[in-house]
């Protein structure tokens, strides 16, 4: 079995009376030589790693080796302890978990790429917020990862998921879209509603460029992961209310692909445009990499 479009995904769900996650699990069974239990265990291992990354990130005060990120999870936690967040429990916790994950990523901690390392914060953020506030069981969260992977599979094969290839819209855009659809399915929405949520989320991030300061996966990547969780929840709420994306999801993905293809290379991870090219961005790059030598051996002093 192959899923070549969101339309096809919905058709298969309808025909087989399965939700998106169950369809993905069945497809994986057919396409790999593994049995269902093995596949579920492998996915559970990834969920456990996400939880572990969040747990470690919550208490970390470390900075990344660049010195330009780190320590914000702690600030967010302090704020939540003493004040009522404006964005509510679901979103504020999802933001904190995403922050913990993406800060860990910048510090070379262990993360799960979802679908990339640069966008690793969004999905774990929403999943563990659902666990805390909606009481979603561990077993359901594992199924949520299958839902997410089905949506990501279609996007990745029809367009792209990396900032270098298609800008941040491809990276955080895809991660947010699959997180939105996953929230809908975990909250009992239909496959159609999940796909509408994915479309609405992706539309909200269309055109977003990849402009990392000094080429590092830190500024603005970490905060874009964080904000991605709030777009995922807003999009999911719209879809659960029965609101549809006027442009079908497959066409939104096509638009994302076309925009990415048209995006100049300066705005696709090369750190030559956008925020990377601001005065501050350029200063950071100069400070970190200004004295690059053409050759190095391991016994000489290091400048990092």
């Amino acid at each position: 079995m192959e899923l070549s479009s969101m339309n096809e995904l919905i058709e298969v769900c309808t025909k087989e009376k399965k939700n998106i996650g169950e369809v993905m699990l069945k497809m994986e069974e057919e396409n790999s030589a593994k049995d269902k239990d093995t596949i579920v265990q492998l996915m559970e291992k990834r969920l456990k790693q996400m939880e572990e990354t969040i747990r470690r990130g919550q208490t970390s005060t470390d900075l990344a080796s660049s010195g330009i990120s780190g320590g914000d999870t702690r600030k967010m936690n302090n704020y939540l302890k003493h004040q009522q967040p404006l964005s509510g429990d679901y979103i504020s916790d999802a933001m904190t978990f995403a922050l913990a994950t993406s800060e860990s990523n910048a510090q070379m901690g262990v993360i799960v790429a979802t679908p990339t390392a640069g966008a690793a914060g969004v999905l774990p953020g929403v999943l563990f917020s659902l666990q805390r506030h909606a009481g979603t069981s561990y077993k359901d969260l594992v199924m949520g990862l299958f839902t997410a992977s089905a949506l990501g599979y279609v996007i990745a094969n029809r367009a792209f998921v990396s900032g270098a290839a298609g800008g941040c819209q491809a990276e955080i855009g895809s991660a947010t879209a699959i997180a939105a659809g996953t929230i809908v399915e975990l909250k009992g929405g239909t496959p159609e509603q999940a796909v509408h949520a994915a479309a609405i989320a992706m539309k909200s991030l269309l055109g977003l460029v990849c402009d990392p300061v000094a080429g590092l996966v830190e500024v603005p990547c970490i905060k874009r992961n964080v904000i991605g969780t709030s777009i995922a929840f807003s999009s999911a709420d719209l879809a659960l209310a029965g609101i549809e994306s006027r442009i079908p999801c497959d066409e939104v993905i096509q638009a994302m692909y076309n925009i990415g293809k048209d995006m100049p290379s300066a705005l696709r991870e090369t750190a030559l445009g956008g925020l990377a090219a601001t005065d501050t961005g350029k200063q950071v790059k100069e400070r970190l990499f200004g004295q690059k030598s053409s050759c190095r051996v391991n016994n000489k002093p290091r400048d990092m």
Partner: protein, 171 residues
Amino acid sequence: MEFRSCFDIIGPVMVGPSSSHTAGVVSIGTFIYEWLRGSPERADIIFYHSFAETYQGHGTEKALLGGLLGMDMADLQVKQAIEIAEQEGVHYTLQFEESCPYYDHPNTVVVRARRKKHVVTAGGVSLGGGLSKIFMLNGEMVDIYLRTSDDISKVAAQYCRDEERAMEGGV
């Protein structure tokens, strides 16, 4: 369809910060480690293009050394690979070039490594999402894919066997 499995989307489990500049590079190092059946005593590394520009921020050299030391992409020790290379007696040099003359891709590296009598020159490219390819091995152009779900020791062993068989057959 490049992405074939749910684990291509949810995964790999890896040390950050970049699936293409970090995780995929560990696999290239691991392939060389497996090929030499251990860590090299000396490695001469050339980073090209984007790797040469951004290796520091992404820990690309740590990732490659981690692989050469036999670590996998989820090993937290990758972060300390430079210090561990020193302790283990792995001497290395790093060189930076603009574009790779052998393979047209921004994320390319060529490594010449020696362990005892064995010497290998390998060209690797990190294609994204942790997927890598060895495109050159000892002067020959090859297509050896290193997927995150692969056991790289098996991939390397398979390729070694094929080569030994070919040599025995006088090809």
